[in-house]
C-alpha cells in the first residue's frame, strides 16, 4: 500500500507528509522500492533498464547518464553495463534492482525481502549496502521473514501477523518487554509456534 500499488480498504497513510492515495505521484517520487520480484527487463542491458526507469522519473539526459554510471559503479556492475540482464546471476540482478530503486534519489527506500534466495556473498553485500543507506540518512523500510536480519539491521521493529501490526517499537524495547535475547523469540512469543497452513485469500475467494 505504501508503494501506491495496493489500495487500502480503510484508513490513511502518509509518506513525508504526502497522502498515499491523493498524492500518489508525489509519494512515488520519494520512494524507491525493491520488491521480491525483480523489476528489470531481461532483454535489456543494465544501462537501458536504468535509462528507461530514469526517463519515467523525468530525469534529464546528462544527469541521468552520470547517475546511472555512478550507481552501476556502486553496485559493482559497471563491467557488465552493456550485457542483457537476462544473462545475469540472481545476485547481480538484485544489485541492479537496488540501483534501479535508488535511481531517482528517493528519501525512503522500501525493501521487500531483498536477500531472499541470494548466495551468502550477495546477502552480505546487500546487508552492508542497507547499512550504508542508513548512514546516508535515508529511511529504510525493510520487510523480511529473516529474524536475524532484523537483529542486525533494524532500529525500529513492527511485528505483523495476518495483516495486522501486533507490536511496534525499538528493537531493544521489544526484547526487554518480552524478556527475549533475539527478535525471533519476540516474534514467536507474539504469534505462537504453530505452523501456518493457510490458503491465500485470492484463491479462497475463488472457491479453491
Amino acid at each position: 500500500m505504501l508503494c501506491t500499488v495496493l489500495r487500502p480498504t480503510s484508513g490513511r497513510a502518509f509518506i513525508e507528509g504526502h497522502d498515499i492515495i491523493r498524492e500518489a505521484n508525489e509519494v512515488r517520487k520519494i520512494i524507491g522500492v525493491v520488491q521480491e520480484k525483480l523489476i528489470l527487463y531481461a532483454p535489456l542491458t543494465p544501462v537501458e533498464n536504468l535509462e528507461f526507469f530514469g526517463k519515467l522519473y523525468n530525469i534529464d539526459g546528462k544527469v541521468l547518464k552520470e547517475r546511472i554510471m555512478k550507481l552501476l559503479d556502486e553496485v559493482k556492475l559497471l563491467g557488465f553495463k552493456d550485457r542483457p540482464v537476462g544473462t545475469f546471476s540472481t545476485g547481480m540482478r538484485q544489485r541492479l534492482n537496488i540501483a534501479r530503486a535508488l535511481l531517482h534519489d528517493p528519501q525512503v527506500v522500501i525493501l521487500d525481502e531483498p536477500t531472499n534466495g541470494l548466495d551468502p556473498q550477495s546477502v552480505r553485500w546487500v546487508r552492508d549496502f542497507i547499512i550504508d543507506l542508513k548512514k546516508r540518512g535515508l529511511t529504510v523500510l525493510l520487510t523480511t521473514h529473516d529474524m536475524y536480519e532484523i537483529d542486525e539491521l533494524a532500529e525500529e521493529v513492527a511485528i505483523m501477523d495476518r495483516g495486522r501490526i501486533l507490536e511496534i517499537g525499538s528493537k531493544d524495547e521489544l526484547k526487554a518487554k518480552y524478556g527475549a535475547s533475539k527478535i525471533e523469540d519476540v516474534f514467536l512469543a507474539l504469534t505462537g509456534k504453530e505452523l501456518r497452513d493457510e490458503l491465500s485469500g485470492r484463491l479462497r475467494r475463488r472457491g479453491w
Binding site: T4, V5, Q35, Y41, E48, L56, Y57
Partner: protein, 380 residues
C-alpha cells in the same frame, strides 16, 4: 493531456519495442507468421497463372458447320493455353449437374442458331460461372474472354472485315446472383488479418507477462500516468503491426502479384487505427484474468470467430442478418472494408472516413473502458 504523459508514452513504447526486438523468437515469429499465413492464403486462393487445367464444360446446341468450326477453334485454344480442360456435354442439364457437383467450373453454351448468327455478324455465347470460389471465378472469366477475343479477331480476318467489332459476344452468368469477387477481394482481408493476428493479443500479452514477471508493479510505482503506460504499450503494438503489415504487402506483391491501387499512407492509417481498436478490445477481454495462459485462450476465442464474420473470406452481405449485426460491432469489419476499398478501388479518404471514424470511436471507447479496468486490475 500534459506534455509529460506523451513523453512517457513514447518512453514506454520504445522500451517495449526494444524488448521485442531483442527477443529473437518473438521477432522471428513476427516475420514468419505473416509469411506463413500469406503463403497459405495465397496458395489456397491462388491468383491467375498458378492454376492450370481448370475443367470447363462445352455444350453445343447447334450442329451447323460454322458453329462446329468455332467450337473446335475454341476447344483447341482453350486446351492449348493450358488454362482449361474442355469437357464436351451433349445437354445443358448434364453440364449444370457437373457444375453443381464441382466437376467443371464453367459452362460455355453455344445456343441453336449460333452458326447463323456468326454469318450475320452478331453471335452470343452463354457462359455460366461457378461463383463458389471467387478467385477461380476470375481466372475462368478472364480466360474465356481472352479466347473469344482471339476468336473474334480470327473471324474478322477470315471474313475480310478487320475493322468490325467482335462478332461473338460473351454473356456471363453466375449460378448464384450477386457481385462476382476475386483474389483482389480476398487479398486485402488477408493482409489485415495477418497483421491483426499479432496485434490483437499483443497488448494483453505484454501486460500479463509484465504482471507475472513483476515489472508491471515497477511501472506502476513510477510517477507516470496510467494513460501513458497503456497507450505507450498500445502504440508499440501498432508500430509492430505496421511493420509486419508492410512485410505482408511486399510479400503479397512479389509472390502473388497483388496490386495496390490506393494510397499507401491511407492504408497504413487504417491498419494503425485497426490495431489500436483491437488492442483496446484485447485489454478489456483479458483484464479479468491474471495469467498469460487464460489471456491467450480468451484472445483466441475472440480472434477466430471475428476473422470468419468480418468479411475477410466473403462479403458481409452474405451473412445472415444477425451475424451481420454482430459483424458491424467488430472493429475488424471496418478495418477490412476500408482497407479493401482503398487498396483495390483506390477509395479516397472522403469515401472511407465513416469507417475510420468508426475505428477511432472504437479505439476511444475501448480504451476509455480498458484503462480504468486496467487500473482496477493492477491495484487489485
Amino acid at each position: 493531456m500534459k506534455k509529460g504523459s506523451l513523453y512517457h508514452l513514447y518512453v514506454v513504447m520504445k522500451k517495449d519495442l526494444t524488448e521485442f526486438y531483442r527477443i529473437r523468437a518473438r521477432l522471428v515469429t513476427m516475420i514468419l507468421l505473416p509469411i506463413i499465413l500469406m503463403l497459405l492464403f495465397g496458395y489456397m486462393f491462388p491468383s491467375s497463372g498458378s492454376i492450370t487445367h481448370i475443367p470447363i464444360a462445352v455444350v453445343n446446341q447447334d450442329s451447323s458447320a460454322a458453329a462446329i468450326g468455332v467450337i473446335n477453334s475454341f476447344t483447341y485454344m482453350a486446351q492449348s493455353s493450358g488454362t482449361f480442360n474442355v469437357i464436351t456435354y451433349s445437354s445443358l442439364a448434364q453440364a449444370q449437374q457437373a457444375l453443381l457437383q464441382g466437376r467443371v467450373y464453367a459452362i460455355v453454351t453455344f445456343r441453336p442458331g449460333f452458326g447463323e448468327e456468326i454469318r450475320s455478324g452478331a453471335a452470343a455465347v452463354q457462359v455460366i460461372v461457378d461463383q463458389m470460389n471467387p478467385t477461380l471465378d476470375q481466372i475462368v472469366t478472364q480466360g474465356i474472354e481472352t479466347i473469344f477475343n482471339q476468336l473474334n479477331v480470327q473471324i474478322a480476318i477470315s471474313q475480310g472485315f478487320p475493322a468490325t467489332p467482335g462478332t461473338i459476344s460473351v454473356n456471363f452468368e453466375g449460378l448464384i446472383p450477386g457481385a462476382p469477387s476475386s483474389f483482389e477481394f480476398l487479398a486485402p482481408g488477408f493482409i489485415v488479418v495477418s497483421t491483426v493476428m499479432g496485434g490483437l493479443a499483443g497488448l494483453a500479452m505484454t501486460f500479463s507477462r509484465e504482471r507475472e514477471l513483476g515489472t508491471l508493479d515497477g511501472l506502476m510505482m513510477t510517477p507516470v500516468s496510467r494513460f501513458s503506460i497503456v497507450m505507450g504499450k498500445a502504440m508499440a503494438q501498432a508500430v509492430r503491426g505496421i511493420i509486419s503489415g508492410t512485410l505482408i504487402v511486399i510479400l503479397a506483391i512479389i509472390l502473388f502479384g497483388v496490386k495496390i491501387y490506393g494510397n499507401i499512407l491511407l492504408m497504413a492509417l487504417i491498419i494503425f487505427l485497426g490495431i489500436l481498436s483491437f488492442t483496446g478490445l484485447g485489454l478489456i477481454a483479458t483484464s479479468f484474468v491474471s495469467d498469460q495462459e487464460s489471456a491467450q485462450m480468451i484472445m483466441l476465442m475472440l480472434e477466430l470467430p471475428m476473422i470468419f464474420i468480418s468479411g475477410v473470406f466473403y462479403p458481409i452481405l452474405q451473412l445472415p442478418w444477425w451475424l451481420r449485426d454482430i459483424s458491424y460491432m467488430l472493429p475488424l469489419s471496418y478495418t477490412v472494408l476500408s482497407f479493401r476499398s482503398v487498396m483495390v478501388l483506390n477509395a479516397p479518404l472522403s469515401a472511407v472516413w465513416p469507417d475510420l471514424l468508426a475505428l477511432i470511436i472504437y479505439s476511444i471507447v475501448t480504451f476509455a473502458i480498458a484503462i480504468p479496468l486496467f487500473q482496477r486490475m493492477v491495484t487489485r
